[in-house]
C-alpha cells in the first residue's frame, strides 16, 4: 500500500502533502489533550497489528486495518496513520518521506469516510445491519485506498496505468480478508467493551459528512482521470488512400500496433500494423463509411470513422472527434486547371483538416494538464486552509 520514493510526480506529491496537512489539522483539533495517551496507545497498537501477516489463500498479506481505525478514531485516524507511516519510513525505509503525504492521504481519507459511514450504524444497533456496515467499511477502506494509490500513480504518468491496475487487482483479496476481520474485531469489541464503540467517541457526523462530500468528488475526479490516458487515432481520406495516425495522449506515436478496418456493414475489410511513425495507409475498395480500430495493447484502443464518397476523385472527410462536417465536393484535378476561389478554398480545406484535427487534439491535451493542475490547486487550497486553522487554533490557545 505504500508508494516508494522517486515514483510520483511533483504535483501529486504536493497535492498529497497539502491534503495530509489539512487532515492532520482537523485530526489534531478533534483530539482533546486528555485523549493523547489513549490515541497514542491505539496508534502503537495499530502499528503492531499492521505487522501481522494473515494468510490469504496460498499467500499472505500484512494487515492495514484503516477501516477499523476510522471506526475507532474518526478524524484522529489521520495523525495515527501519519505517525505509523513516519515510523515505517524512518525505521524500515518502507514508503518514504517525500511520499509520506500521499501515502497518509491514501490510507486516512478512506479511514475517515468509512468510519463515518459505519459508526452511526454501530452506535444505534449491533445487529446484522451494523455488521454489514462494518464489513463494508473494512473492505471499502482497502478498496478506496487501492483506488487512491492507483490514482496517484496514474496521475503521475500514463506509464503507470498498467502498474496501478495491477495494484488495484492485488488488493481485492486483501479487501475481502479485511472485511471479514473487521466484522470479527468489531463484534469482539462490542462483546467485551462496547463503550469503545458506543461511547462518547465524538459525534461529529454532520461535519464528517460535509467534508466527505467535498472529498468524494475530488476522488472521483482522480479516478476518472486514471482512465483518461487513451490512445488517439486520427484518420482521413486524401483522395486515393485512407491515411491514419495513432498516438498516445502524451504525444508518443502508437507504433507497431494492430489496426483493423471495417466497412459500414461491420465486415472486416483490412488489417495491418502501424509503422515506426505510428502511421498507416490503405486503399479503400469502394465508397462508403469505414471504421478504423487501433489496438495499442494494454487495453488502449481507439476508433475513427472515415467516409469515402467519391473514389478516384475522392473527398476528404475526417470525422474523427469534433471536426465539423466537411462534405465539400472537389473537382478532379487533371493537368493544369485554373482554380476558382471556391475550389481553392475546398482544396485548402481538405489539406488543412488534418491540421485542424491536430489542433483540436492538442487543445484537448491542454485541458488534461489543466485538470491535473486543478487537482494540485485544490490540494494547495486545502493546505492553506489547514494552515489557517492551525494558526487560529494556536491563537485561541494563547
Amino acid at each position: 500500500m505504500h508508494i516508494s520514493e522517486g515514483v510520483l510526480s511533483a504535483p501529486v506529491l504536493l497535492a498529497g502533502g497539502a491534503g495530509t496537512i489539512l487532515g492532520l489539522a482537523i485530526g489534531l483539533r478533534c483530539m482533546n489533550v486528555r485523549e493523547i495517551p489513549k490515541v497514542a496507545l491505539l496508534t502503537a497498537a495499530f502499528f503492531v497489528a499492521s505487522l501481522v501477516h494473515v494468510p490469504i489463500g496460498p499467500s499472505s498479506a500484512h494487515l492495514v486495518l484503516n477501516g477499523i481505525l476510522g471506526i475507532l478514531l474518526g478524524w484522529t485516524a489521520f495523525p495515527a496513520i501519519f505517525i505509523g507511516l513516519f515510523f515505517q519510513a524512518v525505521l524500515f525505509q518502507f514508503g518514504g518521506l517525500t511520499t509520506l503525504g500521499v501515502n497518509t492521504l491514501n490510507m486516512a481519507v478512506p479511514a475517515v469516510i468509512m468510519g463515518a459511514l459505519a459508526r452511526p450504524a454501530l452506535r444505534s444497533n449491533s445487529g446484522l445491519f451494523a455488521m454489514v456496515m462494518t464489513a463494508i467499511a473494512g473492505a471499502g477502506a482497502i478498496i478506496m485506498s487501492a483506488v487512491m494509490v492507483a490514482g496517484s500513480l496514474a496521475l503521475s504518468g500514463e506509464s503507470f496505468v498498467a502498474v496501478s491496475k495491477l495494484i488495484f487487482v492485488a488488493h481485492i483479496p486483501i479487501a475481502i480478508a479485511e472485511g471479514v476481520l473487521s466484522v470479527l474485531i468489531i463484534s469482539f469489541l462490542l462483546k467485551t467493551k462496547p463503550e469503545v464503540i458506543k461511547g462518547n467517541m465524538h459525534s461529529r457526523a454532520a461535519k464528517l459528512g460535509l467534508v466527505s462530500i467535498i472529498i468524494i468528488p475530488i476522488l472521483i475526479g482522480i479516478c476518472s482521470q486514471a482512465h483518461a490516458h487513451r490512445v488517439n487515432l486520427f484518420a482521413w481520406y486524401d483522395g486515393k488512400m485512407i491515411l491514419a495516425e495513432g498516438y498516445f495522449s502524451g504525444g508518443n506515436k502508437a507504433m507497431d500496433s494492430a489496426i483493423l478496418v471495417y466497412d459500414s456493414g461491420g465486415k472486416e475489410v483490412f488489417h495491418g500494423m502501424t509503422d515506426k511513425k505510428g502511421e498507416f495507409s490503405f486503399k479503400p475498395p469502394g465508397n462508403g463509411e469505414y471504421r478504423l480500430v487501433l489496438e495499442a495493447g494494454m487495453g488502449h484502443r481507439a476508433e475513427a470513422l472515415v467516409s469515402v464518397q467519391d473514389l478516384e476523385s475522392g473527398t476528404a472527410a475526417p470525422e474523427a472527434g469534433q471536426a465539423g462536417p466537411q462534405t465539400a465536393e472537389r473537382p478532379e484535378l487533371k493537368g493544369t486547371v485554373t482554380l476558382t476561389g471556391t475550389e481553392f478554398e475546398q482544396i485548402l480545406d481538405s489539406k488543412l483538416n488534418p491540421i485542424k484535427e491536430q489542433l483540436l487534439r492538442l487543445a484537448e491535451q491542454g485541458d488534461r494538464v489543466g485538470f491535473r493542475d486543478v487537482v494540485a490547486g485544490l490540494g494547495y487550497i486545502a493546505g492553506l486552509m489547514g494552515l489557517a486553522m492551525y494558526l487560529t487554533q494556536r491563537k485561541r490557545k494563547k
Binding site: S4, E5, G6, V7, A10, L24, L28, I36, P37, K38, V39, A40, L41, L42, A44, A45, V48, A49, V52, V54, P55, G57, L63, L72, P79, I83, F87, A89, V90, L91, F92, Q93, G96, L97, T98, E158, S159, A162, V163, L166, A177, V180, L181, L184, I185, F188, L189, T192, K193, V196, V231, N252, K253, M255, D256, K276, A296, G297, M298, Y390
Partner: protein, 253 residues
C-alpha cells in the same frame, strides 16, 4: 524488536544536531525528486552513498534494507518498459520494449535509492525521540509531537505484549491457515490488544495527573548548534547546489 538499528554510532552524522539533519534530509529529498537528467540522478545517488559512508553504517545492513525497497522497483522494471509508449528498442513477440520505459525505470531506481540512502544516513542515525524533539523545535504542534513521543514509548510495550500473546496461542497448538478459525483468532488477538492498549492509555493518563499534569508539556531544550553541524550543512547544501547546477545544464531527457 530492534528497530533503531542505525541510531547508535559515533560518526559525525550520529552526533550532528537532529534539526540540521531533518532540514538536510528534506532538502535532499526535494531536490532529488525533481531531477530529470541522468547526470543529476547519478550525482544524487553518489552523494547519498558518500553520506552513508560518512555515517559509517554497516554496509551489509544498508544493503539488506535496500533489498526490500528494490523488490518493488524490480516489479516496475518488469512492467514499465513495455507499458510506456515511445520509441521501440527491441521486442519479444508482440511486446515492445521502449527506450522511454527503460529510461523511466532507471530514473526511478536511481532517485528512489538516492533518497532512501540519504534518509538512512541523515534520519535513521537519530533516535525517534530526538527526531520528535527536533520537530518540536520546528514548531510542529505540541499535540503531534506528544503523539509521536507516546506512540514510540509504548510501541515497545505493546509489541512485547503482542509477542507474548502470540506465543501463548502457539503453545496451545495454534497454526495459521486460510480458514475462519485463523481469522477469528487473529481478530480476537487484535481486539484484545486494542482493549489492553486503551486501558493502559487511561492508566498512563491517570498516572500523569497524579504527577501534576495540566496539559502542558515541558520541553527541556538541550540542542546546541556546533561548528561541525555548520560544516555538515555547508558541505551538503553545496553538493545539492552542484546537483541543481548539473541538472540545469542537462535538461530533462
Amino acid at each position: 524488536m530492534t528497530c533503531e538499528r542505525f541510531a547508535s554510532g559515533k560518526s559525525i552524522l550520529h552526533s550532528a544536531d537532529p534539526r540540521v539533519k531533518i532540514l538536510l534530509a528534506g532538502g535532499y529529498a526535494v531536490v532529488t525528486v525533481g531531477l530529470g537528467s541522468l547526470e543529476g540522478q547519478v550525482l544524487a545517488l553518489s552523494g547519498s552513498l558518500l553520506l552513508v559512508m560518512a555515517a559509517r553504517l554497516s554496509l551489509k545492513e544498508v544493503f539488506h534494507r535496500l533489498l526490500v525497497v528494490n523488490l518493488f522497483i524490480l516489479m516496475l522494471w518488469f512492467i514499465l518498459p513495455w507499458t510506456t509508449p515511445g520509441t521501440g528498442v527491441t521486442h519479444f513477440g508482440p511486446i515492445m520494449i521502449t527506450a522511454e520505459g527503460l529510461d523511466l525505470a532507471l530514473s526511478i531506481s536511481l532517485k528512489c535509492n538516492a533518497i532512501i540512502l540519504a534518509n538512512l544516513a541523515l534520519l535513521s542515525t537519530s533516535t525517534i525521540f530526538s527526531l520528535a524533539h527536533a520537530l518540536a523545535h520546528f514548531r510542529v504542534p505540541t499535540k503531534m509531537v506528544q503523539l509521536i513521543f507516546f506512540s514510540w514509548r509504548y510501541f515497545h510495550v505493546i509489541d512485547s505484549e503482542f509477542h507474548r500473546m502470540k506465543q501463548a496461542i502457539k503453545v496451545r497448538g495454534f497454526e495459521p491457515g486460510s480458514n475462519l478459525h485463523t481469522y477469528r483468532t487473529y481478530a480476537y488477538l487484535i481486539g484484545t490488544l486494542f482493549i489492553k492498549s486503551l486501558e493502559r492509555g487511561e492508566r498512563v493518563y491517570k498516572a500523569m495527573l497524579c504527577r501534576g499534569f495540566d496539559g502542558t508539556f515541558w520541553l527541556l531544550s538541550h540542542f546546541r548548534l556546533h561548528q561541525r553541524d555548520i560544516y555538515l550543512a555547508g558541505f551538503t547544501s553545496a553538493y545539492l547546489f552542484l546537483i541543481i547546477g548539473v541538472e540545469w545544464i542537462n535538461p530533462c531527457r
